[in-house]
């Protein structure tokens, strides 16, 4: 019995087929039949990411050890060993989770990972230390509860995020949840989003002035708007922003259009995707995000190109199906609203209530934030939290970009009981959204690009600040701290009041962990202002930097001056001056602690950094197409082994069609998916032109497809199916040759 057997019929057919294909690709990779980089991008598009030390080397503090994994040198990507553990990123569109999904995630963390679920800054869940061969079962179990990991990593549309208060917020224009959902599923696996040079991030926000979904830091973001239409009725739509992003070169998103009507959202997102696929950089990974396209062209020229694309791109009516679901979306409470009245409040409740409970727009209901330190919670906590979600909030839980979980629609009368129950799970920590609720990316704990220990620093700051939180001045309680392990900004340090990103300095002959101090970023207004860098400080001095800067703020701020205004008024020079005395690193003999990172006694090194996979692998559409065809041919051979002759024949035929379509797409990207067109175009463009032509066998290989298409042998016996499977393999080989020949002709031209 396998999970595939057990879950048969419980997984949507499309998802099941995708996972079967990935299963087959794993088998093909083990047989050496898929290139490393093709398999890497394939698994990345399934959310299966690399992890630190997966190149088979680790510095143990004294020397670099080779990690002799059993299957070395078998690899799952360039510089990525097969048996090395990996991270699985699980996309949760708009962070929406129901209790059943929480239970399955808990089980998967326990069985395949280390019993910890990690919430990311993009409303995903990540599991670490996963073996690649466990991923198909993991995917099936997720798929059975409606979760896909498809395109969670790689050069694709990443998780679509939205404000966790959408639908219950006091200041939103309207609930953006169904729009985020429609956008996520419309673009998922869409042919026009498969040829990006880099990732593409989308967010939706219900209001302009709150932080909400941080639209400014996204490739594409929508802020809910309404206007009165020509018919006098209120029309919904979005202020659309493009080309935002953090990373080493942060860009604020540019306003594309003040108002696009709601029905334009999906087609326009597709048009922007097509423009990005066409004009986005494919070679230099550091310049490949949409922000560089927008910057290079200017927003006006970019808008003109997108408008032209929107006008001329082939019609894709499938968006209407997703759009049609929007009006029907409704999240309704499970329990009746009852106000809190006279219930005895347990110790600690008031402090927790002040920071973690939000009175919803709907009277009598609250949204409760469950604080998860560093975004982590255990499988057991998750399972019990699923119970509490059912008990107090119905089906309504969401992950937040601040690495917490919110339970929505909790009747006020039940908030005290919920607090008590959360407390027994160790999940009633106060301080959500305050200075103690420090956000951090994985950093050197697990990320190949991590330079300094973001989680180590975040944990230390959390501990130190929590210890004195009762005595913290109200002015600094509301500040936000965000930490990234490197400049790539996964911890979103640019939009924090106090942000830090890891770097290192060579001092006294040693490499010393440091953090760049970034201050004055704005979380509100959708990430309205990016922080200023004021200097790199040894990692071990960062807690003192926090104390120094916040002390100055309390002492020197003008009446009701925000931290951002305070920073702007003082200027970088003065701020830098405040922390200058922390730059010094004492000699190793005096203070060896400076030469190690937080929570790690090993002598610090940057030698463990690997090649990041954030950027994915540049794999052409043709490479993907051929890999898909080979996967289908392999599946056909497995079906043949199972004596399923009809399905084997049809799958082998499909493999030939996929290979033929891949060739046609070299000349006609938007070739329709119907079989007749593919075969006709293949014949015209590749057979009649003798590109698909063998020196000795002439058009024989092409005929395999042409004949199977025209007159299939419907007896479906072992012999007939075997023939088709054999022919499919030969056809794919010939397609590879034709591809090479075509590329040669292009060079000559």
């Amino acid at each position: 019995m396998t999970w595939k057997d057990k879950l048969e019929g419980q997984i949507a057919p499309q998802l099941a087929a995708e996972i079967d294909a990935f299963d087959a690709q794993i088998a093909l990779k083990k047989q050496g039949k898929i290139e490393d980089k093709v398999f890497a991008e394939t698994r990345l598009r399934r959310g299966a990411y690399g992890q630190r030390y997966d190149n088979g080397r680790r510095h143990d503090g004294i020397t670099t050890q080779d990690l002799n994994f059993p299957n070395n040198p078998l690899a799952k990507g360039p510089e990525t060993l097969w048996d090395a553990p990996g991270m699985e990123r699980i996309k949760i569109p708009f962070g929406g989770l129901n209790p059943r999904q929480m239970e399955v995630l808990a089980d998967l963390a326990e069985e395949y990972s280390d019993a910890i679920l990690h919430i990311t800054t993009r409303q995903d869940i990540q599991l670490h230390y996963i073996h690649i061969e466990d991923t198909p079962s993991l995917f099936r179990r997720l798929a059975a509860v409606g979760i896909t990991t498809r395109e969670a990593c790689g050069n694709s549309v990443r998780n679509v995020t939205a404000c966790p208060l959408a639908g219950v917020c006091h200041t939103e224009t309207f609930d953006v949840t169904p729009y985020a959902k429609a956008c996520a599923y419309y673009l998922l696996g869409h042919p026009d989003t498969q040829d990006f040079g880099r990732k593409f991030k989308i967010a939706f926000s219900g209001c302009e002035h709150e932080a909400c979904a941080l639209v400014s830091i996204h490739d594409l973001g929508g802020i809910a708007k309404t206007r009165v239409g020509p018919d006098g009725k209120t029309q919904r739509g979005f202020a659309l922003y493009v080309g935002g992003g953090l990373g080493a070169v942060p860009h604020q998103a540019k306003l594309y259009e003040e108002f696009i009507p709601e029905e334009e959202l999906l087609p326009l997102a597709r048009a922007i995707g097509r423009v990005f696929a066409r004009l986005g950089e494919k070679k230099n990974r550091n310049k490949a995000r949409l922000k560089f396209v927008v910057h290079k062209l200017g927003i006006d020229a970019f808008r003109t190109i997108v408008q032209e694309e929107r006008r001329t791109m082939p019609e894709d009516p499938s968006w209407r199906k997703f759009f049609a679901e929007i009006p029907g979306y409704e999240e309704s409470p499970t329990f009746a609203a009852v106000q809190l009245n006279g219930v005895r409040k347990p110790e600690g409740f008031d402090e927790w209530n002040a920071s973690n409970v939000y009175a919803q727009r709907q009277p009598g209901y609250a949204t409760v934030t469950v604080t998860c330190p560093l975004g982590d919670l255990t499988s057991e906590q998750t399972r019990k939290l699923a119970d509490l979600t059912r008990k107090y909030a119905g089906d309504h839980a969401r992950l937040t970009v601040e690495q917490n979980i919110v339970l929505r629609w909790v009747p006020h009368s039940k908030v005290v009981d919920l607090y008590s129950d959360l407390k027994t799970l160790g999940l009633a920590t106060p301080g959500a959204g305050t200075i103690v609720d420090v956000t951090a990316c994985p950093g050197t704990d697990t990320c190949k690009l991590g330079i300094s220990s973001s989680r180590g620093l975040a944990g230390e700051l959390r501990e130190q600040l929590s210890a004195k939180s009762m005595n913290l001045d109200a002015a600094i309680k509301g500040l936000r701290i965000k930490v990234s392990g490197c400049f790539n900004s996964c911890g979103q340090h640019h939009v924090a009041d106090l942000g830090f990103y890891g770097n290192s300095r060579n001092i006294n002959g040693y490499t010393v962990p440091h953090f760049q101090v970034m201050i004055g970023g704005k979380w509100l207004q959708n990430g309205g202002t990016y922080a200023l860098a004021i200097g790199s400080i040894p990692s071990k001095n960062i807690p003192k930097v926090v104390d120094r800067l916040t002390d100055h703020y309390i002492k020197d701020r003008q009446e009701s001056e925000t931290f951002q205004t305070f920073c702007t008024r003082l200027g970088k020079k003065a701020l830098k001056g405040m922390i200058e005395d922390f730059v010094h690193v004492p000699p190793h003999a005096e203070a060896p602690d400076y030469y190690t990172d937080w929570g790690n006694p090993r002598a610090y090194t940057i030698g463990d950094m690997g090649v990041g996979e954030c950027a994915g692998e540049i794999v052409s559409l043709a490479q993907f197409g051929f890999t898909q065809a080979e996967t289908e041919a392999f599946e056909a051979s497995l079906l043949l082994d199972d004596n399923n002759y009809e399905k084997a024949d049809k799958t082998a035929y499909q493999a030939m069609l996929t290979a033929a379509k891949t060739l046609v797409q070299l000349q006609w990207l938007d070739v329709p998916a119907d079989r007749d067109t593919i075969v006709k175009e293949f014949n015209t463009r590749f057979v009649e032109t003798k590109i698909f032509w063998d020196k000795y066998h002439a058009g024989q290989f092409a005929n395999y497809l042409l004949q199977r298409h025209e007159s299939p042998d419907t007896r479906y016996t072992l012999d007939t199916a075997h023939k088709t499977v054999e022919e499919a393999n030969l056809f794919i080989d010939a397609a590879h040759k034709a591809h090479a020949k075509f590329q040669e002709t292009q060079k000559i031209i």
């Binding site: 630190r52 680790r58 280390d114 704990d445 790690n600 006694p601």
Partner: protein, 189 residues
């Protein structure tokens, strides 16, 4: 059925989780556990009643587990074992767990660390093979009882809990005596 987990509890008071960090890093440097490729330490001390501090190896996660506020050493097997029978697999996983426990007890940096040896927990970390049901219990208990009796050198008590079918299948073994870790290791050879 190889995804077995064994937990040995500490006596009170147990060391602070931070104390295990340098120990585990030293183990990695010295390849301290035979038959295991050691390569990382995962710090989860910020998560209440969580896996605490984990020594990550290719073959198993070795955690200073804090579940139910009862700290202990939790060995969770990940990679397949050489044998296939439950009894053989249990014996092998028990021997690795005891080996790690003995190493911890002998570590000078953890002078107060002691294990309770009259109780241990066996989990099967595989809901497909061993869902937490009375049927699984009926099917597996005889083998577990047999191995546990051998381990302790006398008949022991097995306790099951099926309260939450979502949890891992788990058996608590209780002994009337407290042999040393070395005796337990010897018994299971």
């Amino acid at each position: 059925m190889h995804k077995l987990a064994i937990k040995l509890f500490f006596t009170e008071p147990s060391p602070h989780l931070d104390d295990f960090v340098p120990v585990f890093h030293t183990w990695i440097q010295t390849h301290a556990l035979p038959n295991h490729l050691l390569f990382d330490v995962a710090d989860y001390k910020h998560v209440p009643t969580g896996p605490g501090m984990i020594l990550i190896t290719h073959q198993a996660n070795i955690a200073i587990d804090q579940a139910n506020h009862r700290p202990g050493l939790l060995y969770t097997r990940k990679s397949p074992l050489a044998t296939t029978s439950l009894a053989d697999n249990l014996r092998e996983v028990l021997s690795y767990t005891l080996q790690a426990a003995a190493l911890l007890e002998s570590t000078s940096a953890l002078p107060n660390l002691k294990f309770k040896t009259d109780e241990l927990l066996i989990q099967i970390n595989d809901r497909l093979e061993a869902p937490n049901t009375p049927e699984t219990s009926s099917k597996l208990s005889p083998t577990i009882q047999q191995v546990a009796n051998t381990l302790f050198g006398h008949p022991v008590t097995l306790e099951h809990s099926h309260d939450d079918s979502r949890s891992l299948f788990e058996v608590r073994i209780k002994s009337s005596q407290s042999p040393t870790l070395a005796q337990l290791s010897q018994n299971i050879k």
